[in-house]
């Protein structure tokens, strides 16, 4: 690169370069796609748009983006395909580690690990993206489809994820999150919000997963104490795929046929969703059930408000320990809403849905199910939602308008 004007003029030009000099960098599939695309992602400057051509990019290694303010844009989720079927290394297909990045209009297929991970990447937008493991649900598929972690302001809009062996859309240890208008199917968990604060999960379809939507909190992590999550206006139906998560992972404990599961969080609102055909239960509210060493960790659930959900057929094939016994005891099927009961009235778990609620009557989150004291319960209290709407910075919304 020539640098003829080494004086003040070039400094001024550089300072202003972001909006003025923003350029499109087109990358086509074909020979050398790995090095050409990776080079474009490295040499891009803030404001640039890396444009993925139409066709299949046959990639041999993970890709990564570490430049802030870059947009990666394809010709559409069925037209520009990043295929990692021949990937030889790296823990994910595409890794983003910079802020203010927009990913849109392309697909990631068959990555060996996670498909798209963004770590410490604030203000990230995922829009109109397809992630798929094309061999269907298999234990050997990568763990997460769309995987933002340790980030502030995460917008996931209009994505489709199929086949993740952990969670299709997984947001971990982040703050201020919107997951909307997206579809997750044939994953172990469709959508999972974990160890995160302030999330809206709405207008999504979660179907044919093992569990539809999970709101979890786990111990021994830098950010924990998950809270303020709203799950509303989603369609959570027929999540009946047998659990295919590798053992050891927390989602391996999710029973097939789970609609929404809340674990070890507080201030959770579940309203205006449509549930149907989830064989274990529509809504499960439970504490963390495994042994842990972490004085700062709170394993029980508190402050849950459930209202105005539509409940179709459910609880007809419970896949959790003691499920058959419970079904037999409650007239052939498990009630659509189950709470472990830990904390009693102090837990403030309220529900105004006109369906039976099963209180397992546990006193400790890790209590064996055999010693539970299950009974039908009314979870009386103010179940109306009151958490504020999550708002993204305007530039993020503008990026996909």
């Amino acid at each position: 690169m020539k640098r003829k004007f080494a004086g003040l003029a070039s400094l001024v030009a550089m300072a202003m370069a972001t909006p003025l000099a923003a350029k499109d960098i087109a990358v086509a599939p074909g020979d050398g796609a790995q090095e050409r695309l990776q080079e474009a992602l490295i040499l891009a400057q803030p404001g640039d748009v890396v444009i993925l051509g139409e066709g299949r990019f046959d990639l041999t290694d993970g890709l990564s983006l570490d430049v802030a303010g870059v947009t990666v844009k394809g010709a559409g989720p069925d037209k520009s395909v990043l295929s990692f079927a021949r990937q030889m290394a790296a823990g994910e297909g595409l890794l983003v580690t910079s802020d203010n990045v927009v990913l849109r209009d392309f697909a990631v297929e068959d990555s060996k690990g996670d498909a798209i991970k963004s770590k410490g990447a604030d203000n990230i937008v995922y829009h109109n993206i397809r992630v798929e493991w094309t061999g269907g649900p298999k234990e050997t598929n990568g763990a997460y489809g769309i995987y933002p972690v340790e980030s502030e302001n995460v917008l996931i809009d209009s994505v489709l994820v199929i086949g993740a062996s952990d969670a299709g859309i997984y947001v971990g240890q982040s703050r201020n999150i919107v997951v909307r208008d997206s579809v997750a199917r044939f994953n172990v968990a469709g959508i999972e919000i974990e160890n995160s604060f302030n999330a809206d999960v709405h207008d999504n379809v979660a179907t044919k997963n093992t569990g539809g939507i999970l709101v979890f909190d786990l111990p021994n992590l830098p950010q924990q104490g998950g809270h303020n999550v709203r799950v509303f206006d989603n369609v959570v139906v027929e999540n009946d795929t047998p659990n295919f998560a590798p053992k050891g992972n927390i989602v391996a404990s999710v029973p097939a046929g789970t609609g929404v599961m809340v674990m070890a969080n507080r201030d959770i609102e579940i309203f205006d969703n449509v549930f149907e055909g989830n064989g274990s239960s529509n809504i499960m509210i439970i504490g963390y059930r495994q042994k842990f060493e972490d004085a700062k960790y709170q394993p029980m659930v508190r402050n849950v408000r459930i209202s105005d959900n539509a409940h179709g057929k459910t609880g007809f094939a419970p896949k959790f320990a003691g499920g058959d016994m419970l079904a037999a005891a409650f007239g052939g099927s498990v009630p659509p809403i189950i709470w472990d009961g830990v904390g009693g009235a102090e837990a403030q778990v309220f529900c105004s849905d006109e369906v039976p609620v099963l209180n397992l009557g546990m006193t400790k989150s890790d209590q064996p199910i055999e010693t539970a004291q299950p009974s039908l319960a009314k979870l009386m209290g103010d179940a109306a939602p009151r958490l504020p709407k999550i708002v993204m910075p305007e530039a993020m919304e503008a990026a996909i308008r």
């Binding site: 690169m1 640098r3 790995q34 090095e35 050409r36 990776q38 080079e39 992602l41 490295i42 040499l43 041999t60 290694d61 993970g62 990564s64 983006l65 570490d66 990937q87 030889m88 290394a89 790296a90 823990g91 890794l95 580690t97 990555s111 060996k112 690990g113 996670d114 770590k119 410490g120 234990e139 050997t140 598929n141 990568g142 763990a143 997460y144 995987y147 972690v149 340790e150 062996s165 952990d166 997984y170 971990g172 240890q173 786990l218 111990p219 021994n220 992590l221 830098p222 590798p246 053992k247 050891g248 992972n249 927390i250 495994q290 042994k291 842990f292 060493e293 972490d294």
Partner: protein
Amino acid sequence: MKRWGVPVALAAAALLTSAAPAPLSVNDRVITAPGLPKKLSEFGFFSGPGVARPSPVLTAYSLNTPLFSDYAEKQRFIYLPAGARVSADSTGRLAFPVGSALIKTFGYGTGADFRPIETRVLLRRAGGWEALPYVWNADLSDADLKVAGTRLPVTVTRPDGQSIAISYAVPNKNQCKECHSSAGEVVPIGPLAANLNIAPASAKPFRARIDWAGKPNLGDGPVWNDPATGSLDARARAYLMVNCAHCHNPQGSASNSGLFLSYSAASDRAATGIYKRPVAAGRGSGGRDFAIAPGHPDQSIMIYRMASTEPGVAMPEVGRSMVHEEGVALIRQWISALPQD
């Protein structure tokens, strides 16, 4: 046997070859100016061919316990600008002044048979460290910048004598940062004073340029495979520190895992992996419940991932396509000896 022997011998041989041209002087401006130099020769680190005849102002060093990189031989050098000084904090981490460079060449073969594949440079510029990978051309006349990395077919002879053909991966610029990252900034990994091993002839002048915050402690850390240098626990921790903790620390690329293998995290046993359940491991869990199950290496995720070469399972995620059998053996032995609850 000191591992600094090879580069020092090469440098000495170069000095004795009277017909050779005078060594280049290092070009300070290329190190400090912004931009990405296309050729390694622009720096003036080596007179060549290849990495033969390093500039006499470079200080060769090795590490007591190194990062495993597919059994590659590594030749490492420190460059300090004239008159510049290094400071060491109380933990012995060295802070290099602007204009410094760390130069590491990866290749195979020893002594005169050493053939370089790539040379990675870490340049200390005003804005921080810049990490750049250079790949040697066929006649070793120069090495070209490959910001996007590349793959090269290489046949590796393992310590047990077995030869294996691998696809050697030169990391791209971002992958350099993935390992060399702390709180989003690029930092050197190796040069902890206690892990640094410098040839006696150059150690004295180099040490004289270090300003210590605490007690000087250069070059006495454990050698991972030499029981005379430390206990099993000390050597295993040193191995994990160098091979894992560059990502697995609270500011590193694996901060979200909660698995911290740096010395400073050792007091929190769950954070170091003991009875710690996986978080985002996916099939990397191998169906096992804990990162480290004391007494049971075969039930420990750490061993499963170290012993794998499969992307999505293998740890570290980049930088190797082979299993470091001897390293796995050390960690197996260590986990076997850890007390169970």
